[in-house]
């Protein structure tokens, strides 16, 4: 076949095959590859060359397909991840290395990473870390912290794959191969070719009234299939995540309350949408309040929330005033952090279709059952009429708990009875979805002459944006955690979430705790300095021990591991301080610094029920299926839950087939948030495995130690030298089945916040070593040493992956990230760390066990990033004396702080 394509076609060689596909030569190559050539392994993360997810090889050179004209491919050779892994042994070895190192977490950046790496590997010769970084510097990853990706590229060898194993073994991700071979399907990858497309019309102003023109005539003139506004929502035009705080309309009515809020949605063929005239809406901009300070005196945004205060939180123990008054030393300070964008590389996407009186929604998500309930409310349906079929999810970090794109596709598909798809652009993803709460914190901490904490007072105001989302959770959680994992006899912490005309703040890895740790851990350094105490020793001295009461009066008799964390860090601390001292003696204008910080995080909902249910069955043919409803958004739940279940049942991991979190076939394992899946769903999986095991052993009438072997149509039981056969009954569905739930034991908090908020706390402490350029204020990170008490590491490699990824997000929080509504709605103005910004991370995994966790395991996801930012800030202050109170510590702020000290 000739590469001279017919008119309206583009001819090129795609992964070894000559193709001619219809499409405009002016279109983005990414669009043609995905939509016309079927190469859905080319991911679109930004449409601006900012993230590199769409990287393909053109005549062997990596290019961003999203900013390459499709016509440029004419007559050329294009290779994508899937084609490379299939055809090039070098790429296949790289894929194996990605599996061995768990270099893919969610997998959305993996195509860009691997394609870029293949180009480098093809150059041949030995590789350095620097070369790998330079080659992959154009691809952003939000999950891994990049370290395992670098390791995998440097180790693209024929080494044997990771061995199988049960709890405690570093097995490969059970869902990893699709991600590294390019066949994984994410939110925007599953719609059928004939799906209509929905596009949301959004407010260009922070606050505005609006009136529509003639929508029906607009629809008709532009050949659209549908135009929808608030009046078209069949159910209640409101959604939310916390009972009593459902306050966000799908489409604004009368007034848009933040820039990016939806007011309407148009639906049509891609061509009709591309050609559509501007939407007929007239805006009337109104004065907006963008900060809590402004909002306190601004127009009230929600009728039941005076002063725009959404909710407050408080925890009090002892007498904070007396504790501070009686202290030998008191330090106080004000700290602030900005909006932080989740910046997962996969923008929100969904595809919906109506099946009779039911609606089926395929989407990326962290919370299928919550999405189901939310959509049912909006569409006026029973939850059972809504089916959520989660796709692979390209990162979440909290923001994909909330409904975003799904309702528009669902509403349009419901009303039009046609399949409808939607994918957010990067700009609308950043503008309209939830953020980490900006914080303003005042804190006072007192200690006696020996350096023991005597009192602590915390007052935090959080900008919760226009709608509640998870704001109430932040307001509740922060006062419980603001003490850090330390013994504080006299304590009072207050928090307030205040509405503003900004995008809603919601859940983001840590729910407000990273912000409070920035204040508390920095003040600890100032206090230690005042006391003349080593900073690590000061923390170790005050760390909670088993038997101590937390600020909520909760006492852990086992598993409080923060002392272990600090003790594990001690050798690295001494070495780092010595090295910094030696370096600084020889360098007048570059200074090294070492910082340490700790953190803790309660796993699961705060003093509220949050059960998980896990189901498993054995088919009459002998296949073992685990209905695993804990959404794997890259963190590894598919692997961890399966490992726990296999261990409890007593079968090899390889025997377990996973059935995904489709709400029609898999029970509710709750949301993937609050570091709850390993702990809570893990416990449900353990119980389910144990229940199924008990059933099987009973059927075979064998003892508790018998070994289970699954055969064709039967189960074999081995006990000593004996072998029993249990035939599997022919049945509809499963021959044997078990379903178990687990809900962690908590206790409601009283008016002073005293009670049992969480059954499990995980703890962590990290050391940061860095160098500050005194003349430019730039900060270069050298190393992070991270000690984490995970109770029991179900999969140590996944634990490292969580730590490294959390550290990377902590680096972003500390040094570069700040969302400014209306100003940083892309990935070149909103900066997240690149492969060159994350230093070596040494993980020290501690296993102190836990009274409740499955096999002693605790959650870990949020803990990883909590100590990072304060450790970095403390290291900056150690290096040059510059104490950064207002994040991020960008070069200009660090330099200003250095100049203010007269250095």
């Amino acid at each position: 076949m000739s590469l001279d394509a017919p008119p309206g076609h583009i001819g090129f060689t795609l992964n070894g095959a000559e193709v001619s596909v219809p499409g405009a030569a002016t279109a983005r190559l990414s669009e043609i590859l995905r939509e016309a050539a079927g190469a859905r392994d080319v991911k679109i993360g930004c449409n601006a060359g900012d993230c590199g997810a769409c990287t393909v090889l053109m005549d062997g050179a990596p290019v961003c397909a999203c900013i390459t004209a499709a016509g440029h491919a004419q007559g050329r050779v294009v290779e994508t991840q899937a084609g490379l892994v299939e055809a090039d042994p070098l790429a296949e070895r790289l894929a194996q290395a990605f599996q061995r190192h768990q270099a893919a977490q969610c997998g959305i950046c993996t195509p860009g990473m691997m394609v870029s790496a293949v180009a480098l590997l093809r150059e041949g010769g030995p590789l350095s870390e620097q070369q790998v970084s330079d080659a992959l510097g154009g691809v952003l990853c939000r999950c891994t912290g990049y370290r395992k990706i670098i390791a995998a590229v440097l180790d693209a060898s024929t080494e044997a794959p990771l061995a199988e194993g049960g709890v405690g073994a570093p097995v490969a991700r059970v869902d990893g191969w699709p991600k590294v071979s390019g066949v994984e399907r994410f939110g925007d990858d599953v719609a059928p070719a004939d799906a209509l497309v929905a596009r949301v019309i959004r407010s260009p102003h922070h606050r505005a009234g609006f009136t529509f023109g003639d929508l029906e005539s607009y629809r008709e003139t532009n050949g659209l299939d549908g135009v929808f506004t608030a009046t078209d929502v069949p159910g209640a035009n409101v959604f939310g995540v916390i009972p009593g705080f459902e306050d966000q309309p799908l489409f604004a009515e009368q007034e848009a309350r933040f820039k990016g809020e939806a007011v309407a949605c148009i639906v049509g063929t891609p061509d009709a949408l591309a050609a559509a005239a501007p939407f007929p809406v007239t805006w009337e901009e109104r004065p907006a309040a963008l900060t809590p300070e402004e909002a306190l005196t601004a127009d009230q945004m929600h009728s039941d929330r005076a002063g725009n205060v959404m909710s407050r939180g408080r925890v009090a123990r002892g007498d904070a005033g007396a504790g501070l008054a009686g202290a030998a030393h008191v330090v106080a300070g004000d700290f602030s952090t900005g909006f932080i964008e989740h910046a997962y590389i996969e923008p929100e996407a969904a595809y919906a279709r109506r099946t009779g009186d039911r609606i089926e929604v395929h989407c990326c998500t962290q919370a299928p059952y919550m999405n189901r309930a939310g959509l049912a409310g909006l569409l006026g349906l029973d939850p059972e009429q809504v089916r959520i079929v989660p796709t692979a999810t390209g990162g979440g970090f909290g923001s994909k708990l909330d409904l975003s794109a799904q309702p528009y596709a669902a509403l349009a598909a419901w009303r039009l009875d046609r399949p409808v798809r939607i994918a957010y652009t990067r700009t609308e993803s950043i503008a309209s979805t939830t953020k980490r709460h900006p914080s303003r914190i005042h804190m006072e901490i007192g200690a006696d002459a020996e350096g023991r904490l005597t009192g602590m007072r915390f007052d935090g105001t959080f900008n919760t944006g226009a709608y509640a989302s998870w704001g109430p959770t932040v307001a509740t959680r922060v006062p419980i955690h603001a003490s850090g994992p330390y013994l504080v006899p006299n304590y009072e912490a207050r928090s307030a979430g205040v509405h503003t005309n900004c995008a809603p703040s919601g859940a983001f890895r840590g729910f407000g705790v990273p912000q409070s740790a920035v204040a508390q851990e920095q003040l600890f350094d100032i206090l230690a300095e005042r006391l003349g105490l080593d900073r690590l020793e000061f923390r170790r001295r005050n760390a909670l021990r088993n038997g101590d009461a937390t600020v909520c009066g909760q006492v852990f008799e086992s598993g409080m591991g923060i002392v272990d964390c600090y003790e594990a860090l001690a050798p690295a601390w001494t070495r780092a301080l010595d090295e910094a001292t030696a370096f600084n003696a020889a360098n007048p204008r570059r200074k090294r610094g070492v910082g340490v910080a700790g953190g803790w995080y309660g796993c699961g909902n705060t003093a509220l029920p949050n059960p998980s249910t896990i189901r498993a069955g054995i088919t009459p043919e002998g296949a073992l299926r685990l209905h695993q409803g804990a959404m794997d958004i890259g963190q590894g739940a598919n692997t961890v839950i399966a490992q726990i279940f296999a261990e409890a049942l007593g079968v090899p991991l390889g025997a377990v087939e996973i059935v995904g979190p489709d709400t029609d076939v898999t029970p509710d394992a709750g949301k993937t948030s609050a570091s709850r899946q390993t702990f809570i769903s893990g416990n449900a999986a353990r119980l389910c495995g144990e229940a199924l095991r008990a059933q099987i052993l009973r059927l075979g009438n064998v003892g508790p130690d018998a070994r289970i072997e699954l055969g064709a149509g039967e189960i074999l039981l081995h006990e000593g030298s004996e072998r029993r056969r249990v035939p599997l009954e022919v049945a509809e569905g499963y021959a044997l089945e078990a379903q178990e739930s687990y809900d962690p034991p908590t206790q409601a908090l009283d008016e002073n916040g005293q009670g049992v908020p969480y059954a499990v706390f995980g703890t962590a402490a990290q050391i940061c070593e860095l160098e500050v350029d005194l003349d430019l204020g730039t900060v270069h990170l050298h190393r992070i040493t991270a000690a984490h008490d995970v109770g029991r590491a179900i999969n140590p490699l996944l634990v490292e992956g969580q730590i490294e990824g959390g550290v990377a997000q902590g680096i972003g929080l500390a040094l570069m990230e700040e969302f400014l509504p209306g100003r940083t709605e892309n990935l070149h103005d909103y900066l997240i760390p690149t492969i060159g910004d994350v230093p070596e991370v040494e993980s020290l995994i501690l296993e102190t066990g836990d009274a409740h966790g499955p096999y002693g395991a605790k959650g870990l996801g949020e803990h990883c990033l909590i100590p990072t930012a304060p450790a970095i800030l403390n290291a900056i202050a150690d290096a040059c004396g510059a104490r950064i109170h207002d994040l991020p510590a960008t070069p200009d702020r660090v330099r200003a702080a250095i100049l203010a000290r007269g250095a």
Partner: protein, 278 residues
Amino acid sequence: MTLHRPESLPDALSLLGASDAVVLAGGTDVYPGLRDGPAPDCMVDVSGLPELRGISKGAGRWRIGAATTWTEVLRADLPPVFDGLKAAAREVGSVQIQNTGTVAGNLCNASPAADGVPPLLTLDATVEIAGPQGTRHLPLADFLKGPRRTALQPGELVSAVHVPEAQGGAAFLKLGARAYLVISIAMVAAVTEVRAGRIERAAVAVGACTPVARRLQDLEATLCGRPASDLPEIVSQYPFAELTPIDDVRASAGYRQDAVRTLVARALARSMEVDHVA
């Protein structure tokens, strides 16, 4: 929805003359500029024009074809005075951008933070402009009229950049808030010739601190004839009055003004190191 792919410069010019088509080279500025919108109805792809390709040396000057990619600049065999331009090439976006983004595209985009502009200013580059009336040449400083504004007239396109042959060492420093894929807070390019410890010639250009990157002629004049060892003192006393930086999401104006001094001193020093080695 037409992408013309002419095979010669005259063909390209007649296409441009006949319509208000958008010139497309690598696409690394054109497509991000669409902000998720549809592509322009008509584009003329100049990336394949033979007249616009390649780097060649003629009488006393180098000619860099307009459609030369940054990767091609990086891999070209060029004398040390181009080291600053090569360092800038390495900092343009990412490898992906460098593989398709072109030298002339960087100039025509006319961003105050264009990585290629400061080093080309220090190389005394001129811009070769092809148009319906023939070819004209403009010094780069005259070609760049302001943010997103150039001296290009309708129907014209940049066909090459010319750099006079020169001796000396060169350096380029880019200051940003992260390691890769970063838009400058400020950047500095420097070219120096040092003989027997004396600065014979200096060229310094600063980007992202004025609407268009610019040379610091007064500083250059002050440096000329002075011992290289005087460099720190000269830079520390120079007022940098020609800079008019702004506050933006990347940094404050005051910081830019302050950091430039350090960057200039370091870039000059580095350019001299290279020269000594050579």
